[in-house]
Symmetry: D3
Subunit: 240 residues, 6 copies
């Protein structure tokens, strides 16, 4: 049974990763999941937040934002509103936590990396595209830090890659990588972050409509882990 | 194998629900999960947010906050800092979504209910205690609205009850209802919101340390659903 | 001539003080003046504000806030509005000033104590209940600091106790400890803060309706000082 | 016994009132209490705040602010800090309440007057100078509104004039109209707002140092009421 | 005499305009001036600001912002800082004013167009690239509105095109279209906005170092007008 | 051809400079350009902004603001709105840049001077009056710093004076020093900042209506430089 855009239920949208899109950031990637396009830039800074100083460990964090006209209707800028919204905060925290799952902070040493994920165009799945692209930018920033001698060349700060995908129950069917229109129709919506080795980093499932049972949860997890496995391959190709 | 506080791995802390703690709110409950104490008050308002107006449907939302000295170290007030933090936003949104899973907005009709969850004392699991107590406050507010004739007496706005509990892998063992010290030590941390009928509303699992595999996820879900089943009973007793 | 709630004109509402309500704060009290309930927690911090540093003196300050549904109509949270309102600021400053009148900052030494007064339920006189309860929390925090050796055991940082009460002219009669409905009807409204020895710390009288003359002012002061004397006794009992 | 600046204990500083200083406001006055200079402008607006609409009554409010270099040390602007401070809020509210004591809102009818009091130079007593000058600006704004026919010519919106002065116990002596250096040294500090007929509108006494007793309070009130009586005369001359 | 990057003093950087970059906006262009890349999206909204309503005229406005890592050093987000900076405000206002010079608001009719200019990568001249790209996005948005019948097809809302370029005195030589390194070295810096017909819309010249004289000003204006004439051609090609 | 207020096209309004208006600031001037009155106060501070520290150079900055009723219609205070508006920011930055053009930061040494320009009454040209008055306040603050020995007496921190004036095309005629009504009618509006020696510091020309050509620009510049030459004389007289 095919979807509106012709995909199979377990098929990702076309994913492209333009590594090194930015001439200035230490690592960067412009990632597309179909019509969703996110610019991810990683910035290496020589210090860590105050509460971490002096522990010989590094820090990785992220900030997510949407351009005002990345959506169908123009949204007001959060800078103009004078406050960062709850959804933005939540996704920024999710991306940061997800990336940290792939990093050995001891091996990174006392420096910090901020990955900015700016959504240039949104068509569903912006947070999962952001995590998947942010890992590529992060990997390049770590490589840069090692090439610069800021992190010892023998160190292995990256312990595993990290990718993410959305799944949901659309018209009663477990479905992979929802676009905006599918997301709106989904009864249950789940974002899954997994490592290159297939372990779970984050599972966030929400009943937007009717609550769901264990068997639906299991079906969604199967679908998601197949999706993150495929994204892991694409990350490897981009970083090759 | 017993825990520091003598509990079994699958045992809740002592849970108490003081229904009707507030003389002013349309519904209220002071809930304790051990040392965690949350005051939940439900306020019925005759209008809905502008984007919902005229659809003949109601709205339920929530706001979560911690008193500055609910924790071991005093925190600055968010009002003084001039902005609501990301964690606060995130939990407020979670509580609101969870409560809405138990409500038929059509049956509620065009009015809105805000449930404020203020943490008076925090010892882990504040968000799950808040959801569990908020449902009790909400149920009383709905009953009040029906008694007042603001919602038809024949309507059934509450379709299911909602309760929540935290689980985590502490020292390698799946463990129910973590207190603060356990939460700090947990490698994986999960909050599960379920209905009285045992369906899932929200699953939020996070690898704070090492990523987790499917079998660990399954063990945590089993534990959590047993916990929410017990909390459902306690809600029923409180509302009886 | 009796009042709506059966009290005499010179009679306080029922006052209860639950000392040590919080397991975490260095001092705490849940105080009730009738339906007004305020949770006061005192936090000891090892530093003083920058402008006081290095003088060998301590500092005591306070923050007052109301829960959104402590009142009959739900109020928006100041954290959500992004700013602390004028009334909140004013009362926080009043409580801080009042408490400092009872403390020898030299004897306290270079540490600071913040007393948070959160109104859980409001029925008039929240600021006077807050001051009266805050003193109890403060006294316990000072005792804690002395027991911990942070303040020398021989020092006497507390020079006098501090309590407060409201008075007003209601229906032409000078009246003690107004509840919300009386406060709304009062032509003149006055808050008086006094020490255990009966000296005045703060007198704030306001003509809400018609201006008042000296004799009315005198009658109100007599009433208030009798009230604070009675509150001083209740503080002593709570701290015994 | 004379003061540093040669004044008697019961003597005001030189007070000047430049009525109509502003070419644009409906009423205005530049008032000086010695080195304290406050520009007061009254603006008539055809509407009242939403919560008052449709009652046929008017509203008078005030805003107080200090220029950043009105003081000895430059202060940061509240606009740059992004929030109005507690002291500013408190004084704005005091001025508004004081002015309203002189106005019959029914006679004013459904319009509002905002009096802005901007301290151009501060040398103690800025709030009392502001109240005294604000009344003059208000009186002219009311006259303007009557001349324009916005308030019936037969109406009497001004029921009494309002003036204010500070008093304090300086070096043990009750003293009138403190300048900045006296204010810093004062043990007790009191601001008194009174009407032209000599009735009290507001009494705010604070023990900055040692608490005070009833007899000191009485002496301060005597001094203050003599001061406001003299200020009332000066207001009359200015408005003649 | 050639520049570091090989350009003649009167030569623009390579300029590219990707018209229609965004699938969602009514008009869009990704413009590059060398390493400076700005995404311009135009949003048509059916209403005008309140102060313009009912006049039968339209409105055009703009918002400018830089991504945090568009620059060599990562900048904090203005949304996180909670306020829009002065430079951002200033440039947003400049872009809006410049675009309005090309529009007949009467012919546009009562709708408004907001052009968002988000700098993805910055290498000097971001505001002039933004204006030049914003005009292309605006032109497409107007065409869209006419195709949709929101603006009569016979109307001519665009009266002239608008383009902008920077000039400056670098090492004593009047120089066109400064990149970041040239901009830092420039003694005088000027931004010129001109119409397709060669008239001036905005001239903003600033002595960053030594003040400049009339003959220098004249030389800069000549250079700038040649530059905007060339940019006008490129806009025409993009819109063809 | 004379103007509404009887002036010639090339005639300034009556300009008065009350030097030393403030008793507290290190330098001050109350300047009037006709009905426009701006209070300028210069504050000397012993430190420079962090990004300049340790370079042995000084810093000069400015802040501009309007009193709420300096205009015909009362404006909301920026402190109450919680943010500084774009126009305010822009003018503050302009004044600071203009003043710095007259100062040798090396000769000033490591201290900073902030000039506050508060518009007490506005009738057009507030930014140009502010710059002209701010220079007088700055000159006195520099003299104070030299008298105090904070800047060596032999140093020459002031290299040139700075003055500013507005010009515009009103009813087709190039016109000097526009008042509010002329400013509203002007098709093109330009602010010119020049030094005492007649060099240009800042040229900001804007087509409010129709774009302008080079010959109009030239005529406006001639007019403006004659105006700043006259203002330079008045500054010299004030400082004599």
């Amino acid at each position: 049974m095919a979807r509106k855009d012709g995909r199979q239920l377990d098929q990702l949208r076309e994913v492209t990763i333009e590594r090194g899109w930015s001439a200035q950031a230490e690592g960067s990637a412009l990632i597309s999941f179909g019509g969703t396009r996110v610019l991810c830039t990683a910035s290496v800074m020589p210090t860590v937040p105050r509460w971490m100083a002096g522990k010989g460990k590094g820090w990785v964090t992220a900030e997510y934002a949407m351009l005002p006209r990345s959506t169908n209707e123009r949204m007001d800028r959060e800078s103009v509103k004078g406050r960062v919204g709850g959804r933005t905060h939540e996704i920024s925290r999710l991306i940061g936590r997800s990336l940290r799952a792939g990093v050995d902070m001891k091996a990174l040493g006392e420096l910090s990396i901020t990955v900015d994920c700016d959504v240039l165009q949104a068509d569903g799945g912006t947070r999962t595209a952001a995590i998947t692209g942010a890992y590529v930018a992060l990997a390049d920033a770590v490589a840069w830090a090692q090439a610069q001698g800021r992190v010892p060349k023998s160190a292995k700060p990256l312990v595993d890659s990290v990718a993410a995908v959305s799944v949901g129950i659309v018209d009663g069917e477990p479905t992979l990588d929802l676009n905006y229109l599918e997301d709106v129709r989904a009864g249950t919506d789940m974002n899954v972050v997994a490592t290159g080795r297939g372990l779970l980093v984050e599972v966030q499932g929400t009943a937007e409509g009717a609550p769901f049972d264990r068997s639906e949860l299991d079906a969604l997890l199967d679908l998601a882990l197949a999706g993150t496995a495929r994204l892991t391959e694409l990350q490897r190709e981009a970083l090759a």
